[in-house]
Amino acid sequence: MTSTGLAGLGIVVLVTILLAFLALIHRRSPFSFRSIPAFWRVRRAASLVVEDGTRLHVSLGNGSILTPAGASALAGLSLLRRLAEFTSLSDRPPIATSGTGLLNLLAQDSLRTAHDAVVIDETFDMNNARVTGFTPLAYVAGVMPAIRDEGISSNVFIGNFGPEVGLLVEAADRQNAAVVAASDSLTAQAVLFPSSSETIIGEELYAAGAYLQSGPAHAASLVVQDILRWLIIVALIVAAGLKAAGLL
């Protein structure tokens, strides 16, 4: 094993131990986090769709699960599962759209699990999770009619998007539907900032589970991210100091 491999393995083991340890601590005395208005708005949107009989739409983007971009989609799936549990009792169950076959299968499974946990006597419609197109623009072109025709009052765009996500926000705006949007792509974040009233910037995307009480592991992973961030800051400052002193 090379030294880089050893360091990588060490980081993975350290993060896993920290996750388990902090999750245990969170069970005893829950961590408190700063307020992120977008997540408060997501919860409010989920309550509203149940009250007024409209539909919630979760768009998971078109990031492949087999690439690093898939992590944002996995965070989106976690949020989808939680929101589906909140809104499964609504007259109109939530719909999820995605741009890849694998992501769609996972979205179908997340929706079905949430449906089975809440609703007993109604059959689950597999078409509530759907692929709308396999290229970024085809995906967006397929989602826009769904936003218009399916009685959607709240949209959550979370996953890997490109600049084309601006078209989705515009389509939702035309229907006066609420939009909360998050992406791991810098270009999409730059487009979402002026387009959407509630944009989730940077790693806040991965905090969705913790803010919607998905479990202690989600809260623990936020604290782990903070610890690692501080370690990186210290390492950067030390490395810059050493470089300035001519020792590196």
Binding site: V15, E170, S221
Partner: protein, 207 residues
């Protein structure tokens, strides 16, 4: 039965994930990692076929139920079948290129053009939607970068903006900010992946 199925899913996903992860660090496992990755690529290919089936099913359901906009679903299914026939009939191969270059590409290009207009409109109404310091900073930065990026009619290149301010914003401030965001995203990716690897998050069903 459902519980057994969910547990089997979890065991396969977690063990597969751990082997692939360890394969990156331990040379002895790298061969098996490639083997598993090849399997996952095949499964992803099958998932595309399932996705196409889902697309077909959603639009067929829309037509059957007479939902608003179902005429577009008829058009989509017609062209879907036409493309499938063009793909599987060797004699129709030139027609396949025509479908792609003559319909798909122009439609996508026109969507990009609409996107450009949408973005300008969003920037114009930004201060109405969200009038705070970050919005003012965003718009000011956009204006400075736009003014410094190319020659302005009559005035030409703006001396300080083009030579110093725009390069400073794009190479120092924007790059620094982008790297900070990307480090945050990478940390989020790491913890999300590990949550799935230890079985806390199960996007493949089960509690």
């Amino acid at each position: 039965m459902k519980k057994i199925f969910a547990s089997a899913n979890a065991v396969i996903a977690i063990s597969g994930g751990i082997i692939v992860l360890l394969g990156y660090f331990i040379d002895a496992l790298s061969g098996f990692r490639f083997f598993l990755l090849q399997w996952s690529v095949i499964l992803a290919g099958v998932a595309v076929l399932v996705g196409i089936g889902n697309l077909f099913s959603v639009h067929l359901q829309k037509i059957r139920q007479g939902k608003p906009g179902s005429i577009y679903s008829v058009v989509l299914l017609f062209f879907m079948l036409l493309t499938a026939i063009a793909c599987f009939t060797p004699a129709l191969k030139p027609f396949q290129g025509m479908l792609l270059d003559g319909i798909m590409l122009p439609v996508e290009v026109s969507l990009i053009a609409v996107l450009a207009v949408t973005l300008i409109y969003s920037a114009i109404r930004l201060l109405r939607v969200r009038s705070d310091l970050s919005s003012i900073l965003f718009l000011t930065t956009v204006l400075i970068v736009l003014m410094g990026i190319g020659p302005i009619p009559v005035l030409g290149q703006l001396p300080v903006v083009s030579d110093w301010l725009r390069p400073f914003i794009s190479t120092v401030l924007a790059t620094g900010g982008a790297r900070g965001i990307l480090i945050g995203v990478a940390l989020g990716t790491l913890t999300t992946g590990l949550r799935i690897l230890i079985g806390v998050d199960r996007p493949y069903g089960g509690k």
